[in-house]
Symmetry: C2
Amino acid sequence: MKKDLSTEEKILNAAKKVFLTKGMDGARMQDIADEAGINKALLHYYFRSKDKLFEQIFMEVASAFLPKIFTILESETTLFQKIELFCSEYISQEIKTPYVPIFILNEINRQPKAFLKKVLGNHKPPIQKLLVQIEKEIKAGVIKPIEPLQLLMNILSLCIFPFLACPMIQLITGMDNKQFNELMEQRKKEVPQLIIQSIKK
Amino acid sequence: MKKDLSTEEKILNAAKKVFLTKGMDGARMQDIADEAGINKALLHYYFRSKDKLFEQIFMEVASAFLPKIFTILESETTLFQKIELFCSEYISQEIKTPYVPIFILNEINRQPKAFLKKVLGNHKPPIQKLLVQIEKEIKAGVIKPIEPLQLLMNILSLCIFPFLACPMIQLITGMDNKQFNELMEQRKKEVPQLIIQSIKK
DNA sequence: AGTTGATTTAACCATCCGGTTAACAAAGTT
DNA sequence: AACTTTGTTAACCGGATGGTTAAATCAACT
C-alpha cells in the first residue's frame, strides 16, 4: 500500500476510501485500520472516535468540492457564461472524484440540518444570487420565462446524476471507466448547450 | 399506528419504512420491531433474518417501480410519445414514493452485480430497444444527431435527480413537501418539452 | 374442557464493534 | 546513560445488535 506517508496521512487516505465507498454506517473502524495497514487502537490515538474521523473526512471532501461551485454561482459573469463554467468545472471535478456526489447526498439524507450547518456555517446557501439573476434575465427578455428553480434543478440534474448512477450505467451498458469518462467529457459541452438552447430566445 | 393489519403486513410496512429511510446498514431490527409495535423475536419468526427481510422489501419496492418503466421503454410508440409517457409516469411514481430512488441507487452501489441479477434475472436490460430506436430516428433525419446514451442519461437525470436531491432542495429553499410536489408536477410537462425540443429538427 | 398448532413474548446468547488500557518500542532531551 | 515524550501494539471491555429458545397465550377444532 502507500509507503512513506506519515501514519496520519495513511489513516486519512484509508478512511476517505472506506467512508466514500461504504458510507458512515457501512464503514468499520477495523476496515479503515486494515486499509491503512495499522492497528485499530492507533486510529483512536490519532482521531478519538469514529465520528471525529468521519467529520474530518467529510469536511475535507466537502470543502474540496463545494467552494469552487459556490464561487462560480456567485461570480459576476453573465448567466450563459456561468452555466458553461459551472457545468464544465463541476463535471471535471466529478470525473476526478466520482464517489463524492453519492457520499454527500447520503450525508444530507442522514442528517439534513447538521449537514447545512457544517458546510455553510452561518452563511446563506449561495443560490439566491443565481435565482435573482435568472429572474432579471427573464424580465429583461434575454431568456424565455421559466421557473428559476426548475432551471437550476435542470442544470444540477444533468451534471450530477450521471455520476450518481455511474455504477448502474456501467453495469447496464458494459462500459468501463475510460469509456464512461469520455461520455462525461462530452457532456461538459453538451449539457450547457442543451440548457442554454432551452432558455435562449 | 396501523391497526387491523395482519402481523406480517405490519412488519412489512414497518420494514419498508425503516429500510427506505435508513438503508440496509443504518436500519436496526429493533427499529423495525418498534415501528411495527411488536417484539423483535417476532420479526425472526416471520422472516428468518435481516437479510431475508431486506430482500423481501427490496424485491417489493423494485418490482413496484421498475416494470412500469421497462414496459414504456419497450413499447411500440414513437420516440416522442415514449419520452412524454416515460417522464410523466416516472415522475408520478416518484411523487408517490419519494424515498425509492435513493434506496435503489444505494443498493446498486452496495452490490452492483447482485442487484442486476435480482431485478433482471436472465433478461437483458431493456434499454437496447430504445437506443436502437433513437439511432433509427437520427438516420431517418427525424431528430438531430446525438449519442443515444447521452439522450437517455439526460432523460433519466432530469426525472430522477430532483427526487434524490429532494431533502437538500427543501432544506436550501425552505420548501415544504406540497410545494416541492407542485414543482415536480410542473416537470411532468417541462422535462419532455425540454428533451424533445433539444432533439427535434 | 381438552388437544393441537400457530402466534407472541421475555429472557437469553454470541458476535460484532467502537473504544480503552497497559505495556512496550522509538525517538528525542538532559 | 537516565528520563521523557511520542508512536504502536495486543489484549481487553461493555454495549449494541442479530439471532435463538422456551415458555406462555391464543384460536380452532374435537
